[in-house]
């Protein structure tokens, strides 16, 4: 009975393969010019597949019966050889594959192991080293999607593994030789975001001789770090270490800086991204732009005469709204580039600034329009950074309701010598120096209520310790109280810094702040919590509260990531290709991540990730060419009716209708095709051949499970 069934299945699969026989020659012709394959046999009835089952130590072997899987695999049609090994990905494991390909004249390889997203490249290389085309390899995922997720169902997971191998063998028997095409890589890169991550990445790329376009949404580069006063644990001044870098970026001839700009459109693929930059109208011309307009010796020199003259007053957001600015402004005196910007949302176009600028410079153009600039780059780095979580959403802490509750970023500006108060920490309500300051840590972080963020924002503990130190240093007699859940001081010299702050006299109270109430008369605040170490309620009166607010991806991150085709995690942080082994890469080839946009990081980690991203982004550029996976579509002309439905479906405009032998047929521009298969999934005539994901292959996979699956 069983044997009969098996026969029937084999027959069915063979008949399917005869179908493909008619199709395959078209493919072969197309690929004639490609380098001769080691084994060019078309995989048909004579397919000989080797199955290699990995134990992955006990990762796989611990949850299923490897012996049973091996025995069942032997009975699968086309299987010529079955072996198992403790670690297939190890060198001896790969040698098993090499040897078997030669000894058993295999035409395809199936490895049942982890996920193709991890080890497909490894085993493709092994297949190639064994003398086969690397695309004659198929993986059966029996770890990540089997043994690890069915740990308590041994029978179920064994059955699933057998089916997974059947499915993989069915595909492997129909795999064909494919040859990746190489495309040249544009010797230029783009970095989006000019905070410390974007600046470091740009400097590294530029130093490696790569033309770098640095796009920044704000009017100046520098990012969040330029808003900070001191950096932990070394306590060096943030501006002092950052501004030289900002100047370097501005001066580097390999870096083309676009401030007050954003990425508008992205087209193309690794090696050849066509990016449109939207340069927003800033109303002020640089000397270069002025010269281009024939105003020799003109353009903005940052003198500030316009600012003095401007009658419109607005809050300066660089100072978190605590200082006024004019409608024509710069963020702070050290901006790069030192060019003024008109905020056209508040400008009344009175023209006073134009007069103030004078007839020589003539830098101001009130009618300036947005410009769109097209550049071509080989790779791109996203370094879009973070925003502060709107902590007023946590109503119990009274931010924006009580004047003396501020965020840590406001604290940074208040304690900074170049800030709105010249470095004097004062209470916003009355301008008095506080004597008791409470710091609420994990404000909005590690919050599972749904209002805040579930993750740890990673640098708040350390900067709050730094704030405590700054208070003790600057205001004699002032006591900082830190309300914390855990102090996470994990970096180099961080724990030592924690001890130091403890010794300096900061008070630590372990308890999440439940509520903050304001004394209406004095504007003092009552911080309510439960001291979990002493197990008693706390009601502490303080002069000021600083909320160490959580961080979240910056406002424009979502739009930018979609342009580059980068995914994000549930919290909105951009998703790396692999959390451990490829933290700078993304699933879009040629696009990399630097800094906090990938997840909260302190400055050392941000700079390290930026350098990593720059190095990764420079590799394809220095190599000069990249191999694209040959998964593109081809048209089976004898089946094509020339209806043209696919032409409109293609998101990359890779398809077109051409006249051939007196009729319309579809033609694929291979360079534009990314291999999604949307055309192939729709074509009513089945005339589109999706390489490596062909209709016969997918149907064979479905059949292998459902028709060949009965034991």
């Amino acid at each position: 009975m069983m044997a009969e069934k098996k026969k029937a299945t084999t027959k069915k699969t063979t008949s399917k393969k005869e179908d493909t026989k008619k199709v395959a020659p078209v493919k072969q012709e197309v690929k004639k010019q490609a380098p001769a394959a080691v084994s060019s046999t078309t995989q048909q009835g004579d397919a000989r597949i080797g199955v290699f089952i990995c134990h992955c130590g006990t990762n796989i072997a611990g949850s299923m019966d490897i012996e049973a899987v091996q025995e069942s695999s032997k009975a699968i049609p086309h299987v010529a050889y079955v072996d198992n090994y403790k670690y297939m990905c190890s060198m001896p494991g790969q040698t098993v594959i090499h040897k078997a390909i030669k000894d058993h004249k295999l035409t395809g390889v199936v490895v049942a192991a982890c996920t193709p997203r991890l080890h497909e490249p490894t085993f493709r290389t092994a297949t190639k080293d064994g003398g086969l085309n690397p695309f004659r390899f198929e993986m059966a995922n029996i770890r990540d999607q089997n043994s690890w997720v069915h740990m308590h169902d041994r029978v179920g997971s064994t059955d699933k593994a057998i089916d997974a191998i059947k499915i993989a063998v069915a595909k492997a028997a129909l795999l064909q030789d494919l040859f990746p095409k190489s495309v040249p890589v544009e010797k230029a890169a783009m970095v989006v975001g000019a905070g410390v991550a974007g600046m470091q990445a740009s400097l590294d790329l530029a130093a490696a001789g790569i033309k770098t376009y640095l796009v920044e949404a704000d009017t100046s580069i520098g990012g969040r770090m330029s808003q900070l006063d001191k950096t932990f644990p070394t306590l060096d001044c943030s501006q002092c270490i950052l501004t030289p870098k900002m100047v370097d970026v501005g001066r580097d001839t390999n870096i083309e800086l676009y401030t007050y700009s954003e990425v508008h459109e992205v087209e193309g693929y690794i090696g050849n991204f066509d990016v449109t930059i939207r340069k927003k109208a800033r109303g002020v011309m640089t000397p270069k732009e002025a010269e281009a307009k024939g105003i020799v010796g003109g353009g903005c020199n940052g003198c500030g005469d316009c600012e003095t003259a401007c009658p419109v007053v607005k809050p300066n957001m660089f100072e978190v709204g605590m200082k006024p600015r004019k409608a024509i402004y710069i963020n702070h005196p050290q901006v790069v580039p030192l060019i003024y910007t008109i905020d056209f949302n508040s400008c009344v176009k009175c023209g006073i600034c134009v007069t103030a600028c004078g007839p020589e410079k003539r830098a101001i153009d009130l009618e300036m329009k947005d410009e769109f600039i097209k550049v071509k780059v080989g790779t791109a780095i996203l370094a879009t950074g973070y925003d502060i979580f709107p902590i007023e959403k946590k109503e119990e802490w009274g931010y924006k309701r009580y004047e003396n509750v501020i965020t840590s970023l406001e604290f940074e500006r208040l304690i900074c010598a170049s800030g709105p108060t010249g470095g004097h920490l004062v209470r916003p309500s009355d301008g008095q120096t506080p004597k008791r300051v409470a710091f609420v840590l994990c404000a909005g972080s590690r919050d599972n209520t749904g209002t805040g963020k579930p993750y740890c924002s990673r640098f708040c503990c350390m900067y709050s310790l730094k704030h405590a130190h700054q208070i003790i240093e600057k205001i004699p007699g002032c006591i900082p109280y830190l309300f914390y859940m855990d102090i996470r001081s994990f970096g180099k010299m961080y724990e030592e810094f924690y001890y130091r702050i403890q010794d300096e006299g900061a008070k630590f109270i372990r308890g999440r702040v439940a509520n903050i109430l304001e004394d209406k008369k004095t504007k003092n605040l009552h911080v309510m919590t439960d001291d979990t170490l002493l197990d008693r309620p706390v009601d502490m009166e303080v002069d000021m509260v600083v909320l160490a607010s959580a961080v979240q991806p910056s406002a424009d991150t979502n739009r930018t990531r979609k342009l580059f085709g980068v995914s994000c995690s549930m919290d909105g942080w951009l998703l790396e290709a692999h959390p451990k082994l490829n933290p700078c890469g993304t699933t879009t080839a040629g696009v990399f991540l630097a800094g906090v946009c990938q997840g909260p990081k302190d400055i050392p980690d941000t700079v390290a990730s930026a350098e990593g991203a720059a190095s990764a982004a420079s590799i394809p550029i220095h190599k000069g060419e990249v191999e694209l996976e040959p998964y593109f579509a081809t048209c089976i002309e004898e089946k094509c009716a020339g209806c043209g439905m696919c032409v409109n479906l293609c998101p990359y405009s890779a398809l077109s209708l051409v006249e051939k032998d007196g009729r319309q047929v579809m033609q694929v521009t291979e360079a534009k095709c990314k291999g999604c298969g949307t055309c192939g999934g729709f074509c009513p005539g089945g005339a589109i051949w999706m390489n490596h994901f062909t209709t016969p292959q997918i149907v064979a996979q479905i059949d292998a499970f459902l028709l060949g699956g009965e034991q």
Binding site: D144, W148, T587, I698
Partner: protein, 153 residues
């Protein structure tokens, strides 16, 4: 024996019906999400078999129908969230086709709960576990596919 998660491990053995569920998932989101479920050791029932395609846009409505014709008790198609497709808009096009499949199923008297399209991103390992658990539970409730039963007669 029970496992963590909203399912019990059923009795398995010769002659005991087990649901056959065909999963067709995209490489970039749902397959990655399923891998993440593995890394996180999120337990779900093993009654699904996955075929990987680059994009749900690749999925011909006929693949789904072929699976049912072959005797699948259920089919799950899973891709990226709308707006998150690695190929810009393949999932929109797939979703349109899948609605058509659902309508077709209804019109031939096949319970359309046997077919489902879900959206699981590369960071949603736990969601993948929940989706598969739910699909398996529903199919177990619905029982063997009437097509298989019809073929037996």
């Amino acid at each position: 024996m029970s496992a963590p998660g909203n399912f019990a491990i059923p009795e398995r053995g010769p002659g005991i019906w087990q649901p056959k569920i065909q999963g067709i998932v995209c490489n970039w989101c749902s397959y990655a999400g399923a891998d993440l479920a593995g890394g996180g050791r999120i337990q779900y029932p093993p009654d699904i078999r996955i075929v990987r395609v680059m994009c749900t846009g690749r999925i011909d409505a006929l693949f789904v129908l072929k699976a049912f014709a072959d005797g699948a008790d259920g089919v799950l198609v899973s891709g990226c969230h709308f707006g998150d497709c690695h190929y810009l808009e393949g999932n929109y096009k797939a979703a349109k086709r899948m609605f058509m499949v659902k309508r077709l199923m209804k019109s031939i008297g096949l319970d359309d709960r046997r077919f489902r399209m879900t959206f699981v991103s590369a960071s949603e390992g736990a969601k993948w576990g929940a989706v598969v658990t739910d699909v398996v539970n529903v199919i177990r409730e619905l029982g063997p596919s009437p097509i298989t039963e019809f073929k037996k007669q």
